[in-house]
């Protein structure tokens, strides 16, 4: 259910200055006011919730940083949006990695749905999500929804690394970011509560950085969890890291940036002696946007074109990406994305 009143309330702060335009990936792709944060807010204010602007927002929240008036754009989108039946279906699938595995296999077999075709296009071969728990675990390794199925080796590496020092329980689940972003706020709350319960008060080390960022904000939903992003945990605990002679570049996922998490990736890489070739703007939107990459194929591809140029300019083929939706996008662009965990 869209909460128009809340969205309009939050929109009052907007002075229509337009400072948000040039940082918005969809505006940069189409140059149309409809696909700009300012335009989206105007649509909300006038009650035009069916504007194509509202469904095409990537929810990267870059605009919030550029906004001089402190408009909470993410909240406005979340409140104004109403997920379609298809989106709800996708959310339910994401909540259960086994369901995702089966759905992905069906898609790869040629299920004649637009979303399925896109999934088949974008994703690598799905594998059965691993399950693991040490007896009496002291921390949770949260692998998210995409990684257990499409980046299983990364999950296993991270697990192996942490098990060197801790008793770990692996949780493959959804953090609810996709639900929240696309307007399924109540379900997002349910998912968050479920996760909070499953954690049983243990600290959560989360592999996908955007999920880490979303979970760190669970307090606002009334759910108390102790969450660390994987590189954050590694750095805060000063865990010993292997030396790696490598040259690569680093992509900074959007929500991770909001939570100030990207610096940990850099310091970990530095400790490992890795040669990082910085992009001119490592925070440039990758085009994945969580489910966006499946639901808005045209715009997503256009945004990816721009990111591709940016990455290519570094001359690197390997890109560190601590968020798996981003990794899917980077793969589609022809690069080799790796998580920090893949280096361990």
């Amino acid at each position: 259910m869209a909460d128009l009143k809340l969205a309009q309330q939050l929109s009052l702060k907007c002075v229509h200055c337009g400072f948000c335009l040039e940082v918005c990936p969809t505006y940069r792709a189409t140059r149309s006011e409809v696909h700009s944060p300012r335009g989206r807010i105007a649509a909300v204010v006038s009650g035009a919730l069916t504007s194509s602007g509202i469904e095409t927002c990537v929810y990267c929240r870059k605009c919030e940083e550029a906004c001089p008036s402190g408009v909470e754009f993410g909240e406005i989108m979340s409140a104004a949006r109403r997920p379609s039946l298809e989106q709800i279906m996708v959310h339910r699938i994401l909540e259960d990695p086994l369901r995702l595995y089966n759905a992905a296999r069906l898609a790869k077999m040629g299920l004649p749905l637009q979303v399925a075709r896109r999934v088949a296009q974008i994703t690598p071969e799905p594998t059965l999500p691993p399950e693991y728990s040490d007896p009496d675990p002291e921390l949770i390794l949260f692998a998210g929804c995409i990684a257990p199925v499409f980046f299983t080796s990364t999950v296993l590496r991270a697990l192996g690394f942490l098990r060197q020092r801790y008793r770990v329980r692996l949780i493959n689940a959804c953090c609810g970011l996709a639900h929240y972003a696309e307007g399924e706020r109540e379900r997002a709350l349910t998912v968050a509560q479920r996760l909070g319960d499953a954690a049983q008060g243990k600290p959560i080390v989360s592999l996908p950085s955007n999920c880490s960022s979303h979970m760190k904000a669970f307090r606002q939903l009334g759910v108390e969890v102790e969450v660390y992003d994987f590189p954050e945990f590694v750095e805060l605990m000063r865990l010993p890291l292997p030396k790696k002679q490598l040259g690569l570049t680093v992509h900074e996922p959007c929500h991770a940036r909001l939570a100030g998490l990207n610096r940990y990736v850099h310091s970990a890489l530095e400790r490992m002696g890795v040669q990082v070739v910085e992009m001119a703007d490592p925070t440039l939107e990758c085009g994945a946007g969580g489910g966006y990459i499946f639901e808005q194929p045209e715009l997503s591809d256009e945004i990816m074109e721009a990111k591709k140029k940016e990455v290519a300019a570094t001359g690197c083929d390997t890109v560190v990406s601590t968020n798996f939706a981003c990794s899917l996008a980077l793969m589609r662009m022809g690069f080799t994305p790796i998580h920090l965990a893949d280096l361990l």
């Binding site: 002075v15 337009g18 400072f19 001089p68 402190g70």
Partner: protein, 480 residues
């Protein structure tokens, strides 16, 4: 190319022809079109009949020719950040031609860079060689378009030393109403580009601009002066020049604007004072050092407390506070009027005093932030967007401030343009015979008056049924 005598209202299916030129994906209509109907002058919201986003110069020219010969009024729009309402679709009949997709950088040679009108101002410097920069930097420079800058003759804080957009325009490629394209400018004699700068889209569209770049200065230093009264602050501005200093920027903030900034996310730690001056000197280090020394002396002589930032971070913070002064007004109210009149420097103290009196009379809070070296006031008047009475009150206070400036030898608009906001003042600032000459120019380029109608020049007010619009178009001597 086209032989046409007068526009032909009769046959053309504008919408279908527009779609044929730009492609269905690039036509916006219905509710989404309303998103293109207004800009940063939020007091008036319009609704275009249609919006078209051409991909390149060729499509743009075909669009203009089509719209003109079918008697369709049109508005050229860039980033929609005009503070004077230059891109508002007032009557609902206008087709908005968005030039945002014409955002390429075509070439860069010597001190010249050639760009499309849809390019954001900040990207000009970014595409220039490292040792050169593009000087005109309005506060909205991260998004405002070059086409918009040219149309308004936008300024920014570096005007005192580097001039406004006009000084940086070398050549223009313009599209005229009959669909012809001309490259003008770039010659010392008979420069056809000059008339387009500041013409607010009323003579033609800018398809391309060749801009001049400046070599970066060796050093840049900031001196802040905090004064106990406004008169000394204003006096300090002229005194700085009298010392032979040519500052790169001189910005002034009064007590109200400092308070607002300090309550906002732009909090800069400004000292307690009646008004402050932020002076930037740039150039050759020994020259700059002497300039800074003299500026400090001037400030101290006039009873000001001097503060010099100790590191780049502090320097940025001081300037960011100034640049954020407009949006910081959001802490007082999400809606505010931004005026833009100019007075000679020697009238600064006097006009500020009168602004204070006007503010009191209308019961509004006015925050003054401005480009002191140019005498360019930006009184910021907040109003309650839910209350038409509040807006009207703010507008009237603003009018009196504009009149106070004109009385002192100033002009109604220094850099934001006339647009809708100050159209009424054209009837006060110019005599009837002078206005007639301006109309002659307008008619020579736009005989059917379809290019951005009612902006800058108007004879009779538009019929919109909007009370605010009728108010804005009341001529100063008319009763309302």
């Amino acid at each position: 190319m086209f032989i046409w005598n007068s526009c032909d209202v009769v046959v053309v299916d504008v919408r279908r022809e527009v779609e044929e030129i730009v492609g269905a994906r690039w036509v916006v209509e219905g509710e989404d079109a309303a998103l293109f109907g207004f800009d940063a002058f939020t007091a008036v919201k319009g609704r275009p009949r249609l919006v078209a986003l051409p991909a390149d110069e060729e499509q743009t020219v075909r669009l203009i020719a089509l719209l003109y010969r079918s008697c369709t009024p049109m508005v050229f729009r860039g980033s929609g950040t005009s503070l004077s309402g230059s891109t508002v679709a007032l009557t609902g009949e206008e087709v908005v031609v968005s030039l945002t997709r014409l955002n390429r950088v075509y070439s860069c040679e010597g001190l010249e860079i050639e760009v499309g009108p849809g390019l954001a101002n900040v990207l000009v410097t970014r595409h220039a060689p490292h040792d050169l920069f593009y000087a005109p930097d309005p506060s909205s420079y991260t998004v405002c378009s070059i086409g918009g800058n040219v149309s308004h003759d936008s300024g920014g804080i570096h005007v005192p030393k580097y001039g406004s957009t006009f000084n940086s325009v070398v050549k223009l490629r313009v599209a005229l109403c009959d669909g012809s394209v001309e490259d003008v400018g770039g010659t010392p004699y008979f420069n056809g580009a000059n008339i387009f700068v500041g013409s607010e889209g009323s003579l033609g569209a800018v398809l391309r601009a060749t801009l001049r770049l400046h070599p970066r200065p060796e050093t840049s230093r900031t001196v802040l002066g905090a004064f106990q009264d406004v008169a000394s602050t204003a006096r300090a501005v002229s005194a700085v020049y009298e010392e032979g200093v040519i500052p790169a920027a001189v910005e002034m903030m009064d007590r109200n604007s400092i308070d607002v900034v300090e309550k906002s996310r732009y909090k800069a730690g400004y000292p307690d004072c009646a008004a402050l001056l932020l002076v930037e000197c740039d150039g050759y280090t020994p020259q700059v050092e002497e300039e800074v020394r003299r500026v400090r002396l001037v400030f101290e002589r006039l009873g000001g407390k001097v503060m010099v930032p100790e590191n780049p971070a502090e320097n940025s913070r001081l300037w960011l506070g100034r640049k954020g002064a407009f949006p910081a007004m959001g802490v007082v109210s999400p809606a505010y009027l931004t005026l833009d009149s100019i007075v000679p420097r020697t009238e600064l103290a006097s006009v500020l005093e009168e602004v204070g009196r006007i503010a009191e009379r209308y019961g509004v809070m006015v925050a003054n932030v401005f480009h002191a070296a140019d005498g360019n006031l930006h009184p910021l008047i907040p109003y309650n967007p839910e209350s038409p009475k509040s807006l009207e009150n703010a507008l009237r206070a603003g009018w009196e401030i504009v009149e106070a400036s004109m009385k002192r030898g100033g002009v109604p608009s220094g850099e934001h343009g006339v647009g809708i906001e100050k159209a009424r003042f054209m009837h006060q600032y110019y005599s009837q015979s002078e206005l007639e000459v301006l109309w002659r120019i307008k008619r020579a380029f736009d005989p059917d008056r379809l290019l951005n109608p009612y902006k800058m020049l108007y004879e009779n007010p538009p019929e919109t049924g909007d009370r605010v619009v009728s108010l804005l178009y009341t001529k100063p001597w008319e009763a309302e």
